[in-house]
Subunit: 268 residues, 2 copies
């Protein structure tokens, strides 16, 4: 197997749950950073003058999404340390001052705190891709800064390809797995449990799985698991996985065309 050519950075998922992150700046770019950080469960501190806050940032300070707000302009690295004296776990800047941004970057790198300076790639240990989220499902699209417009088009195509129900389906299947594990907890059954779950996921549609309620999940574990069979679903749910509305439209257009031809032929 040949190794791939260099295509960009290393796409990874950074663990931030309950980690402390400092965000320098409170404008529009800062607001977009907060969305990412909040989805990752970080404790967010924003350092920016209250007067210039983006309305979303202000709202998130009020509702607690942003845990702490230091109402000040960034001036020097003493502001980059937590009130407790400990270091932050990650620092992001989204300010228009290139000189100050460079200072934050160099100070952070000297302490090996992961740092991102908005719009200055060489001052970033990491950067952000374009994100699509459906509950626990996260999809990141990145082109390493090349072809931003095409990246957006690809992102839209990917977004359209992800079943709307995918997030819910993943959540509901997690619930079914938990119920199964409670019902048949033996370590020796691990591979059988996995095989049964996999067959269910492969056979049923995302839409069907997303509609899986607690009572049904319990019935499946009680009735279908003992025989290791895939539970039956209403036929309508299964048809929708094979045929799309677009297929049906094209089929009907074909029918109409031939009907018109037949009519024309009879009138001759």
């Amino acid at each position: 197997m040949t190794a791939p050519a260099v295509s960009g950075g290393l796409p990874i998922v950074w663990q931030l749950r309950d980690r402390c992150v400092l965000l320098v700046g409170g404008g529009e770019v800062a607001a977009s950073r907060v969305v990412h950080l909040a989805a990752a469960g970080a404790h967010i501190t924003v350092l920016a003058p209250a007067s210039g806050l983006h309305p979303d940032v202000r709202a998130w300070i009020d509702d607690g999404t942003i845990g702490a707000h230091v109402d000040a302009l960034y001036r020097d690295p003493t502001q980059l340390v937590r009130a407790s004296g400990q270091d932050y776990d990650m620092i992001l800047t989204a300010i228009d001052d290139a000189e100050r941004s460079r200072e934050v970057c160099e100070w952070s790198r000297a302490r090996r705190i992961p740092v991102n300076v908005a719009d200055v790639p060489d001052k970033c240990d990491f950067y952000f891709g374009s994100m699509i989220r459906r509950g626990p499902l996260q999809v990141m699209v990145s082109t390493n800064g090349r072809g931003p417009r095409l990246a957006r088009i690809v992102r839209q195509q990917i977004e359209a390809a992800i079943p709307a129900a995918a997030g819910d389906a993943i959540m509901r299947v997690g619930l079914l797995r938990a119920k199964l594990r409670a019902h048949a907890p033996e370590a020796g059954l691990a591979s059988e449990r996995m095989a049964w779950m996999s067959r269910i996921c492969d056979t049923l549609s995302m839409d069907a799985l997303a509609r899986l309620d607690d009572a049904t999940a319990e019935r499946w574990v009680r009735e279908a698991w003992p025989t290791r069979t895939v539970p039956r679903m209403p036929w309508q749910w299964r048809v929708s996985t094979v045929v799309s509305w677009r297929d049906i439209t094209s089929f009907l257009m074909g029918c109409t065309s031939m009907a018109l031809v037949a009519l024309w032929y009879r009138r001759q």
Copy 2:
């Protein structure tokens, strides 16, 4: 705007070009790590006994994809430092020894070196998602460990939705942009350049853009840019963006059905 619920970690792209990464272990998991690290342009050092190397890992040591191989089992943290005495920029372990893995993790964290221990989430500063690569285009799918089977299904759907030509198209559009910038370098034209490029990307199909050769790109810059028009493409290329083979198949199935109905009707 409400902030999203916590959905997992923070998907980011970590900069590794020309950074030094240590990979402890040389088996199958290590091999999959090398693919990611090589695509990110890292200098890779593998620490593992030569006797137990995965065939791919051995091949990559031979062809230079893996820059250095230390033929030894991991025993203690003195092995986690580069020959020069400097620290690595990232450390990954993929070994079956939980005790040693924990030691590597704690040593790395004390020095704030980003660390990933395969299969031990709480010993990871970051983890890997499922990756799709097309040249400079990288797509990462992650479900934070939930619903691995559904994640794979979603990944397949996403993979099918990404035009095969997307990677090439992004490369070729980058080339067109470079030619345009050389032809009309004035700073004052930046937004006009961007608008023209965007219109081209929005109008022409990925397939068409992927076929864009040097001569054509130059002709476009010379002939279409002065009037800010979108260059014309052969009509076949354009049709393929609107109608798919699946549409055509459905249409023909409709035609056939009606023809059969008509025949049956005549025989009555």
